[in-house]
Subunit: 604 residues, 2 copies
């Protein structure tokens, strides 16, 4: 987490840095700060706890500086204080950092840095170490420092003696950069400078960058010059604006039908899945014996939906593993195992590391990511890009549904390749998938009903989401969404499992959101609903029934359009997203920027 920006060029830096930080705020917003070369030739720092608007408030109106670095923080080491905010300065060095330095305790001891440190952060140790090694050559100091540091980092560094120059190096933590008419930019994410350039390059790991007004030099640690590979982004700044909606999240919920269409349409030909434009050969699917899905958070829950659907449809074993767990266990994979890495940003560090581990066992890795050229896309054998467009709200919505839709496409292709699905079945399946956007439109039309019912949710401390089979996997995402943006402790349970302990938390008025779209377990789920209803729960039921008249089952019923069971998750998730959204808004919170969260998680 943490958002980083650096700029040096022919314009005033301060407003560029502040605007850039605003667009990076999804990466963290515990505190923020900038440092720049002032008119006096010295490095000045402004920093504060709070959001970028708080930083803006303490910045000078007039500031002629043309070179600076800025940071918005997601705290890892040390609490949220101004001292712990970035940039840090030690001696002649000022620095910002995204990542975690694991051996900072040892470094402090070994190099006697205690007296240099004012904060509790790991980052300041890096600044102290750079200062320790810095004599005349910034690059030499960087080389010596990164040789010692263990962990992940994206650094932007300014040295007092090198005015209007930014040095940078990264390991794992993402950085993109560009040199354009306005000058040289570097940032965690290109949204920070897309206003100035649609061309950019991904900063190669372990290379030293030197940014000046006129150019960006890239060289290896051995001093060999490298030409960065520029790419062009296919969306523009307006795609990342609110477009009349009160929040990004509700805008993005509404964008789901289009996002799915954009993602699936180019991959369907003659009514069947078609991955040639993605350069995925048929041999990739042939002979697959098992699937492992690695991901974190919402992407993992998309994986859970994929698992249940694929396993039941194709009868091949599918395992979903939390990426942060997978990477430290001994994976059980063969060369016929397909590994699917799912990540919106393509930079989720745990997923990336899990993918790297998996790649040692199988050549059949494929990633589902939303950002072109991102690390996970580059390091997997094949990438299936989801075309959700930029997702700005921290709570993922459209990225989730397009991940699910892509997983469905993939499953269909695999079913055909393995002979587990006939062409007729596949065509039927794809036809239904193509109609999903229309069904979602119909569900979105119920938004105002959902707004009504969330009044009961607003004062709850606890909520439970229950379902069976695919519905259960879907409720995991529903619970996470509510948690993230409303701070209500929501938990998902297999409907049949709640009674094995957790039903102790069901008391009068506790909301239970039940999803019952799967016919083969419908009556069982209804029995479980009665169990919680008998204990006073306030039950909101989502089903494909037109009407439920028995008020011993639920307090509110939301009827979803009739679709084949496998596809009901696409409808139901929209309701769950809306429940989370309106509950958050009803509580007076900002759903786009939940407490403690950052959008793409680039620390472990």
């Amino acid at each position: 987490m943490c958002g980083i920006i650096g700029f040096t060029g022919g314009r005033e830096a301060q407003s560029i840095l502040l605007d850039g930080l605003s667009s990076l705020e999804y990466r963290g917003y515990d505190s923020a700060g900038i440092s720049y070369f002032g008119a006096d030739g010295k490095i000045h720092i402004r920093k504060t706890i709070g959001k970028v608007k708080d930083l803006r408030a303490i910045c000078d109106d007039e500031n002629s500086a043309t070179c600076g670095i800025g940071h918005t923080r997601w705290a890892t080491h040390g609490g949220v204080t101004t001292t712990n905010a970035h940039p840090h300065r030690v001696g002649r060095v000022s620095l910002i950092h995204n990542g975690i330095i694991e051996n900072y305790h040892e470094l402090v001891k070994e190099y006697h840095l205690e007296s240099d440190l004012k904060s509790d952060t790991d980052t300041e140790v890096a600044a102290a170490l750079l200062n320790h090694f810095y004599e005349e050559d910034p690059k030499e100091a960087i080389r010596k420092t990164v040789a010692l540091v263990k962990g992940t980092y994206g650094f932007c560094i300014m040295f007092q003696d090198f005015p209007n120059t930014i040095f940078s190096i990264r390991s794992v933590s993402p950085l993109v950069a560009t040199h354009c008419e306005a000058g040289s930019f570097i940032a965690s994410d290109l949204t920070a400078f897309i206003e100035f350039s649609k061309e950019y390059f991904i900063v190669p790991e372990g290379h030293i960058l030197t940014l000046t007004k006129d150019a960006i030099e890239v060289e290896t640690l051995e001093g060999v010059s490298v030409n960065p590979e520029y790419m062009t982004v296919d969306w523009d700044v307006t795609a990342a604006q609110k477009d009349g909606y009160p929040h990004y999240m509700i805008k993005e919920i509404h964008e789901q039908p289009q996002a799915i269409l954009r993602t699936i349409t180019p991959r369907i030909k003659n009514g069947l899945p078609f991955f040639e434009d993605d350069q995925i050969p048929d041999s990739f699917f042939e002979g697959v014996t098992d699937i492992t899905i690695i991901a974190c958070g919402t992407a993992m829950y998309a994986g859970m939906v994929g698992k249940t659907m694929i396993q039941n449809r194709l009868q091949i074993p599918v395992t979903v593993t939390i990426a942060s767990e997978f990477r430290y266990e001994m994976p059980i994979l063969s060369k016929n195992s397909m590994v699917i890495a799912v990540s919106q940003s393509g930079e989720t560090i745990d997923t990336l590391e899990a993918l790297r581990l998996a790649s040692k066992y199988t050549d059949r890795t494929i990633s589902l990511v939303n950002v072109k050229g991102s690390s996970i896309a580059r390091e997997s054998h094949y990438a299936l890009y989801t075309h959700a467009g930029p997702e700005i709200a921290v709570a993922s919505t459209k990225a989730y549904t397009v991940q699910c839709a892509t997983m469905y496409l993939l499953a269909c292709k695999l079913g055909l390749s393995l002979g587990k699905m006939s062409e007729a079945d596949a065509k039927e399946f794809i036809k239904t998938l193509e109609s999903v956007p229309d069904y979602i439109e119909a569900v979105i039309a119920k938004a105002s009903d959902v707004e009504q019912l969330t009044r009961q949710m607003i004062n709850s401390e606890h909520t439970f989401f229950i379902g069976r089979g695919l519905d259960y996997t879907l409720t995991m995402e529903g619970a996470l969404k509510l948690k993230e943006i409303s701070y209500i402790h929501a938990e998902s349970y297999a409907a049949g499992e709640l009674k094995h302990g957790t039903i102790a938390l069901i008391a009068e008025g506790v909301p239970v959101i039940a999803v019952a779209t799967q016919k083969h377990v419908y009556s069982k789920t209804i029995s479980n609903i009665r169990e919680v209803k008998a204990r006073g729960a306030y039950v909101i039921l989502l089903s494909m029934d037109e009407k439920i008249t028995d008020d011993s089952i639920c307090d509110v019923h939301i009827s979803l359009p009739q679709v084949p069971d496998e596809f009901a998750i696409f409808e139901a998730v929209v309701i769950l997203q809306l429940i989370a959204y309106y509950t958050s808004v009803g509580k007076g919170l900002n759903p786009d920027q939940p407490r403690n969260l950052a959008k793409s998680v680039t620390v472990e």
Copy 2:
């Protein structure tokens, strides 16, 4: 759930029924009731919401009845009201029921029973149906009724015209019975009549029982007489008493070292696992390619520990599936798949049904159960009995640790059979397992420290448990324990996963219980702890460090004795159990009888 007892004999029935219900109260305690043949020859009913003590308060001091049935309820259909309490009476029939009748709506319509019904329960419909079919022959009425009823049931029925006689039939829901000197008994569990008889038989499914003072007749639906197979229980009534402890739960926590010894000692010979006395042939282990563990609640979490340990040690794929999910999906099992069903009571209905499904695919099913002759033990190909002794507290403690210990034994045997563990490794492994009881003793000695630290927990609404690898699987049980008996919403998270959304719930003072006993992920877990600490969490850390001086890591540190990483879960779980116990007691709750919960879950 629900507890059932019936008695007819030469003694006063009321006190026998009430005492029996007290010992069955772990199965449900929303409401309770009895019915009996009074001195006037008529059937009388006493029932009330609340516990058995509330029922006792409304019963006559003097009551000469010698035949009656009693029930303690765990509500499934219809709220907790006196009308919904059992026994139910319709016309000349009085009845108690454990289970769920799924098609009761349809039955009411088809047989026009509306006017007979006063309650909202499924049970009363059975009473009405029996009354509908009853002319002169009770057995004929029973036969006609069970032919129509869909669902699970254990019925005890009294007919007005058959004084001092109890009829009974069951499908799935457990019932045991005995005829002894005092008379004839039938109950959900033999604790209800163990004071009178250590001999008992498991009521065969789909047979009609007729209990009179002098005998119990058992016959098939076709009227063929059957001799029940009597068994003898190997523990007595004192094992099921509190023995000076304030609650069963704390007593059972203290019993863990002995329970483990009892369970493992007979299965170790020459320092290696030995299952001959359990009649499990070596061929059962040879050629196993994968393992599926099916269970619910705490038993499932024991399975999660087993999974992580076995998969890492033996490198064979292990899947843990929630039994209620497993039974409705299409299992992927081959004849070389080993299926392990885990259940304390051996009667958990979802686990039983999942086992039945699994048995269609493989002959390699084995159960880990604590109750001899229970359904799951009988229906699995092999049974490995855990010897926890009777567990009375609803929140399982010793049953969990012996399940884990048995899983470790099983893993070692499997490792040897598959050549994945050398004899030397196995001996080392078993030696450590044998020392676990001593380590647990040492941990229990820290109980008063734990009592102190729970003061911070008492006023919490939320708590999170975090860990990685085996620690993560252990924290699932820790969170469930706390939830069950303190009603604090506790949730377990893989330490690296918390930041993908749920960290939004971490605010000043929210307790986070972190377990960090696994060396290979220790520093990663500590980084995650710093993330929550930076957001104000109150961190309780369990590790094998002697001391932690860095107060930026945790507020309280509990040091566990040094053991090989794989075995640390046995120590850490005791602390987690004590945290749950003292938090419950500190909140003024009764940890033995948590709200809404019943011990063995015999409804789906």
